[in-house]
Amino acid sequence: MKKERSKKYRALQSLRIIIQVFFFSLFLYLLFKTHFTGQDYIGPVETFFHFDPLLAIATAIASRVLFASFILAAITLVITLVAGRYVCGWICPLGSVHQFFSFVFKKSKLLKPRKEEKSAGRLAWKYYILAVVLVGSLFTVDLVGIADPLSFLYRSFVTGVIPWFARAGAAFISLLYGLKLSSAGDAAAQFFGTLSLNQTFQQGFFLSLLFLGAVLLNISKERFWCRYLCPAGALLGLFSRWNVAKVRVDMDKCIKCNLCTLHCQTQANPYPNEQWRSSECVYCYTCASICPTKAVYFPVKRTPEKIASINLSRRRLIFTSALAIVAAPFFKITPAGKRAAAKLIRPPGALPEPKFLQKCVKCSECMKACPTNALQPALDEAGPEGIWTPVLKPRIGYCEYYCSLCTQVCPTGAIKELTVEEKTKVKIGSAWINKDRCIPYALGRPCIVCEEHCPTSPKAIKFVMVETKLPDGTSASQKAPVIDLDLCIGCGICENKCPVMDDPAIYCTSVGEDRSEKNRLLLETIQPAVLTEEPKDPYR
């Protein structure tokens, strides 16, 4: 038998790699573009998400509303239905990450492919994960954001990889200055300045570790995530049973070397051919290009035929679905819904809390767009369901007055899109003064930095003259801040800029936020989110 690899399939494999690089670069480009670039409106940088049918279906089930942009996910479904899981193998940027590292680990002999009849059962895991996610959605517990590949990838990059890059860049810059290469240092510093990368995230270390873990799993099995864990891959797998592209092995040429099955990225098992798993194949063409005798090929068959598929145990499927049903109420055992949480300041335009939790897919796009790094992934602020949802932390950043970027980049409408004009009128919380720590009140010294920074006109922070008793028995008279809650929008710049560093003497809580009908304070201040007319004489 003449040994020669197929030129056609090697070319197709190269094409696939080029396309993967293209889409991963596109992902990076759109992600790095997600910040203030000089324009108030930044365009559809979140488009990748709208092609994800899992996010479309799960958020539609959880929120009982279909978000119009997700119509694009139908394209992915149609491609999969007709041709198979090309999207997983050729486009998905997380898939490309995993495949790249699998390749690296293989080359460095960390990953040694073995015959793996034993682990075939694990392929079913992802279908059970999908079942849990979808059943959870039915009970309005939005788990999809935790497991969806795009949410996972974006979240990991925004809160882990990019901050790492920014901080590594800072170390590099300081090295340049240390070496007296100050003009190179200046250039590098200006370059990083124009990228405006947020580099401070609570849980950033932990979220980075999760991503690192997902990458390192590739040492155990090639494309571990894609094979065993990815619920979006599972969903596409369900749609990939009747497609027209099939793997065939020409038994006249086959020398039964088993290379195709050994190097199959997703354990789709091209050989023996009758055990090929259509639902698992991502059409990477590794089998066809690695075959030493050109025996493996992909003919187009119009007629659907019976194909071996994953043996989903009905008992397990019912069990995992039941698990989700049983688990769903656990997520609700939390005081989060009982009372509004003081420190749960949501971005402007965020839907009322229950709706927000059903729609937010924890993708961190808003945290990338935020110009001041104010939006942070929640830990326990919003209860167990709300983990990694965005929460505004005034001590880290504040809500920039003329900015509505977070509302523009939200892929699911959990944050309603607002114009800059609309956004300036949205109240996300209220500011409070801790007179025991406020410099004029407590120490009788001038300050009112908060008043200076208050962005509204007229200012929500005004000042009054206050008499303070000093330790030596004398007293001092100073301008001290007072808050006009009718005007305060809760942006948090006062807390952010307060010179009392450790525990600011002025701070924001969520009370009075427009999005809630319960978390209100002064009843006479109730008014629609959009002010219709200017207050008559704000200056008295």
Binding site: S174, Q190, Y401, R445, I448, E452, P499
Partner: protein
């Protein structure tokens, strides 16, 4: 020295002494301050510099020039929270015409720098005229001895120190704590560190900074002035059109003139008193030669 040379020098000196002063008197001495009003911010800036004796008086061939506007806030020029971009553009152009090798425009902003630079219109205008408009770079911060009365040392962006010529271009605005923020307060944008702590003795702090930076020229942008809700404003009703640009070699006098636009007497502003006492300049405008023009 030979006797002959000595006699020659003596004769030359005598002639110069006899006729020199009258020769000088024929060209009017340059004024200390020029105040120009008019419809176009660019035209009045140009005229103010012309009245002061031209940019060549301050900028020599091959100079590195640093222009320090107020770009502190994410606000459009109409809201008068930031220096007028046309004033900056004109100063950049004039500096290059006077032979400057390099002109830089920068400020340590309060809101996100990218937003302030863009919305104020200053980055675009200054770049169009050929200036560099970098963001402040914390690696260029250096703790320096200010030798002030209150501020002994503070972190300063070295860009404002390592330059041949320094031009301060403030805008005149209301401020709750020090009543008005004008030229001397503008130096808070040239430093780093916890600037918000300076508010505990803001008047003394800004005078210490003004004494440290000592600009060759102050160009006060009073085309629009912010009369209330400062230093950010937020509505056009907070703004008054003054249509004036004041160019001055005396930074204290520039602030004094600005205070006049708000009908505030110099003795009402503590920092003007401190500054005069430190010898930084004059609050008594009668002691200066002032050229007033309209375009």
């Amino acid at each position: 020295m030979y006797r002959r040379d000595f006699m020659k020098d003596l004769a030359l000196g005598g002639v110069l002494l006899r006729y020199g002063p009258s020769l000088l008197a024929q060209t009017k001495p340059n004024p200390d301050m020029a105040m120009v009003t008019g419809e176009s911010p660019a035209a009045i800036t140009k005229e103010a510099l012309l009245a002061l004796g031209g940019m060549k008086r301050f900028v020599s061939k091959g100079d590195k020039v640093m222009i320090k506007p107020n770009i502190g806030w994410d606000r459009t020029p109409e809201l008068a929270a930031t220096t007028n971009p046309e004033v900056i553009r004109t100063l950049v152009e004039l500096s290059f015409e006077a032979g400057a090798k390099e002109v830089t425009v920068m400020d340590n902003t309060t809101n996100q720098a990218q937003r302030c630079y863009a919305r104020s219109g200053i980055a675009e205008a200054a770049k169009a005229a050929g200036a560099k408009v970098p963001f402040v770079n914390e690696y260029r911060l250096k703790k320096m001895a200010l030798k002030g009365e209150w501020l002994k040392e503070w972190e300063v962006f070295t860009d404002f120190v390592e330059t041949d010529k320094l031009i301060n271009v403030p805008i005149a605005k209301h401020h709750s704590l020090c009543r008005l923020t004008i030229g001397m307060k503008n130096w808070l944008g040239a430093i780093g560190g916890p600037r918000n702590q300076l508010h505990q003795r803001l008047d003394e702090g800004m005078v210490d900074l003004a004494a440290f930076f000592k600009p060759q020229l102050t160009v006060l942008d009073a085309y629009r002035i912010l009369t209330r809700n400062g230093p950010q404003g937020g509505r056009t009703s907070d703004v008054r059109l003054q249509k004036t640009v004041v160019a001055s070699i005396d930074p204290v006098a520039a602030d004094t003139v600005a205070a006049g636009f708000f009908e505030i007497r110099p003795e009402e502003l503590a920092y003007l008193g401190f500054a005069q006492k430190r010898g930084l300049g004059q609050t008594n405008l009668e002691k200066l030669t002032i050229e007033k023009r309209a375009v």
